[in-house]
Amino acid sequence: MTRRIAVGIAAAALLAGPAKAGHYVVTAGAQQAKPGDAERGRETFLRVGCYQCHGRQAQGASTGPRLGPDPLPLAAFMRAVRTPRNEMPPYGVRILSDADLADVYAFVTARPRPHELPR
């Protein structure tokens, strides 16, 4: 499935460069970005190893929380990826571009609702 979702990185305001080595900051209106592509996002999600902690369907595990289909607001999502406050390995732009990240956001947003377990 290819699904385009306008993730609006400009509004989310991601600064795509390091403030100093290993550090990234988010500022308003830093960059205009294209809408994310869910299918490309799925490929990126696997390629850069998001699935290792969050599962291939972004369903979450003990190693990383569920990411979709109702992800964090984009700005918070970006911050969590670039400058995680917790145990998550940081993803700098050299290994995950802003465009790739937008695709990943589109992918996790496109995840289906959960199956309802029988009682």
Binding site: G22, R47, V48, G49, Y51, Q52, C53, G55, R56, Q57, Q59, G60, A61, S62, T63, R66, P84, N86, E87, P89, P90, Y91, G92, R94, I95, R111, P114, H115, E116, L117
Partner: protein, 626 residues
């Protein structure tokens, strides 16, 4: 003695009873024999009784049900005595394909049955194979009883391999992580030390012990009339916490606004599980079960394990029961380029530990974790201390406090129910995806066994703890914790050992078997098939050493290199291992690889039918990483 050489064993036949004491007498006699006229009796080539028979008498007197062994010449006499003189019954010899499997089987057995079984191994190569499993048992505070063969007397060693399989101090290899050992030099010494070893192994804090069975002592002839005296085995009462300190803990618990009880390796028996329930209910206090043992019913309203961090953040008193890592319980640690830590407790929260861990602490191996700054520590076994703590609490609870407790209990019950509903909802994400999610695997397995008398023998971290979130664990044998030392290769043999213990009770043993773990010593599947040990193994086959893959990812991201090559050395692909074929080749019923979630339920029904016939079965399920 055709060449005039003295055969010490032949000479000692005349003094067999006393000769069990051996070395000094044998040495003096040899010197005398060498100067005596060479008119020997016809060479004695056989004997009806040997030292190993006496050792078997000792093992029977102690009461071992099984003895796990991969055969080795350093204990050939003991092996022969077990199966012939001992009738291969109590103990029955369990044929293992690796000493690590032998020890891990004993590890799993002990946690189900509450008593050790024995292991036989070479003192050198066998014990080296076994060492990692001994370490696991040590970290997990589990009694494992190991007998190693060795030939101490250099003049009695056969040329060649018997030298490479002999050692001056066999037990030194595992002394850092075993509780006690001895190298007896007489049968009387063996009997005394064997009984002492059992008593020490089973006294909390429990742990592995090791007895060296010298090959000369095993093989030496013993006169028919010789009667070895075997000391009486007396089990020690477990060390209880000081009563005054226990009463102080009771006061703190009753006065606290939000007391939290955290249990790790606290409950070895059903009685301890019941005591912890009684304590929690008397206080209507939150309980966090860290999973070292089956400490607390998973669906009990006071069980807050699913929201441990939030529960601890709100606590004004934390009482830890046999915690492996108290510091890690009340601090968060951030594994980034610059490592940081912070307390998760609010200011003024008090901390109390009841644990026997420090009673058995050693220096070299660092399983004791970071030093926690606590307000009150009680050096005593938590299980043994719980009854007095329960009584002390009950005496202090007033009607006013009871009303407060009841209100607290209602809130905790709501939180517990909400956590369960969240878990059910979360388990539905990725439901139909392939590879199979660990949540789907856990639910399919639960639906297949929930109406059986089941026992889960595997640890839950690799499958994100789903069973503990979704299943109803109530009985002490339904969960036995993990390896202790996190040495991979534990789950498969420990599950077979647990299944061996459950067999006599007619329980259905199930295990969620990680793929990397199984590949350490898959021969244990043959052991399960050979001995008709009923066990359902459902594989969590994520085709990786996934914990290490995540570590590689962490390093690669930290160094701005990306994860594209993190699979090198961490994945188990190309070729994918066909575990079903492997298991079938070892005599185990197997199906797989199962990649479609909908195929899992029917496969489970077929496999359970096999297990109910008394045989092992394996389902290879290709799964999500965690």
């Amino acid at each position: 003695m055709a060449d005039g050489r003295v055969d010490r064993r032949t000479f000692l036949k005349h003094t067999a009873g006393a000769a069990a004491g051996g070395a000094t007498l044998g040495g003096a006699a040899s010197a005398s024999a060498q100067t005596a006229p060479q008119q020997p009796d016809p060479e004695q080539l056989t004997t009806d009784r040997c030292g190993a028979d006496c050792m078997v008498d000792v093992l029977k007197a102690i009461g071992f049900d099984y003895i796990c062994a991969n055969p080795g010449s350093s204990f050939r006499a003991l092996h022969e005595s077990l199966v012939n003189y001992g009738g291969n019954s109590r103990p029955e010899l369990i044929t293992c394909c690796h000493e690590e499997s032998s020890v891990a089987m004993a590890h799993g057995f002990a946690k189900i049955e509450g008593k050790p079984i024995a292991v036989l191994a070479h003192g050198t190569v066998g014990l080296q194979h076994a060492a990692m499993a001994v370490y696991n048992a040590s970290c997990d505070r589990v009694p494992v009883y190991i007998i190693v063969g060795n030939t101490l007397d250099a003049t009695e060693r056969r040329p060649g391999v018997e030298w490479t399989h002999s050692v001056q101090d066999a037990a030194s290899l595992v002394r850092d992580f075993s509780k006690w050992d001895d190298t007896p030099i007489s049968l009387e010494h063996f009997a005394e030390s064997a009984v002492r070893a059992y008593a020490l192994a089973t006294t909390p804090p429990m742990g592995p012990v090791l007895i060296v069975a010298d090959s000369e002592l095993q093989e030496r002839p013993v006169e028919a009339a010789y009667k070895l005296r075997i000391p009486k085995l007396t089990s020690s009462a477990a060390p209880q916490g000081d009563l005054a300190a226990v009463q102080e803990v009771a006061k703190l618990l009753v006065a606290a606004t939000n007391p939290v009880i955290v249990a790790d390796r606290a409950a070895r028996t059903p009685a301890a599980l019941a005591s912890l329930v009684a304590l929690a209910e008397a206080l209507q206090a939150a309980v966090i079960d860290q999973g070292g043992r089956m400490n607390f019913p998973s669906r009990h309203p006071l069980n807050q394990s699913g929201q441990a961090r939030a529960t601890l953040a709100d606590a004004d008193l934390v009482v830890g029961l046999e915690l492996t890592d108290f510091w890690g319980t009340v601090n968060t640690y951030r594994d980034q380029l610059h490592r940081t830590a912070r307390s998760t407790l609010k200011s003024g929260a008090k901390t109390v530990s009841i644990s026997g861990r420090d009673l058995g602490i050693k220096a070299n191996y660092q399983d004791f974790q970071r030093f926690p700054e606590l307000d009150l520590t009680i050096a005593g076994d938590a299980e043994a201390t719980l009854p007095s703590l329960v009584e002390a609490v009950k005496r202090l609870v007033t009607a006013d406090r009871r009303r407060v407790f009841d209100e607290r209990g209602k809130q905790l019950g709501d939180a517990s129910r909400n956590a369960y509903e969240r878990a059910r909802r979360d388990a539905g994400y990725g439901w139909d995806a392939s590879p199979v999610t660990t949540a789907r695997l856990s639910i399919e397995l639960w639906e297949a066994i929930r109406n059986e008398d089941w026992s889960l023998a595997s640890y839950l971290n690799p499958v994100s703890g789903w069973p503990m979130r979704l299943w109803t664990f109530e009985k002490h044998y339904q969960f036995i914790g993990g390896s202790g030392g996190s040495g991979i290769g534990y789950t498969a043999p420990a599950s077979v050992g647990a299944a061996l213990a459950n067999k006599r009770h007619g329980r259905l043993t199930v295990t969620i078997q990680p793929d990397g773990d199984l590949m350490y010593a898959p021969g244990v599947l043959w052991t399960a098939a050979h001995h008709r040990i009923p066990l359902l193994m459902v594989m969590h086959n994520n085709r990786a050493y996934h914990q290490e893959l995540m570590h590689l990812q962490r390093m690669a991201n930290r160094h701005n290199r990306g994860v594209e090559r993190a699979h090198i050395g961490t994945t188990i692909t190309d070729p994918n291992i066909d575990y079903a074929k492997m298991a079938q080749g070892l005599g185990v019923y197997a199906e797989g690889p199962i990649e479609k979630p909908a195929d899992l339920g029917p496969a489970l029904k077929r496999a359970i039918a096999v297990v109910k016939r008394g045989e092992p079965a394996l389902l290879d399920v290709v799964t999500e990483p965690r």
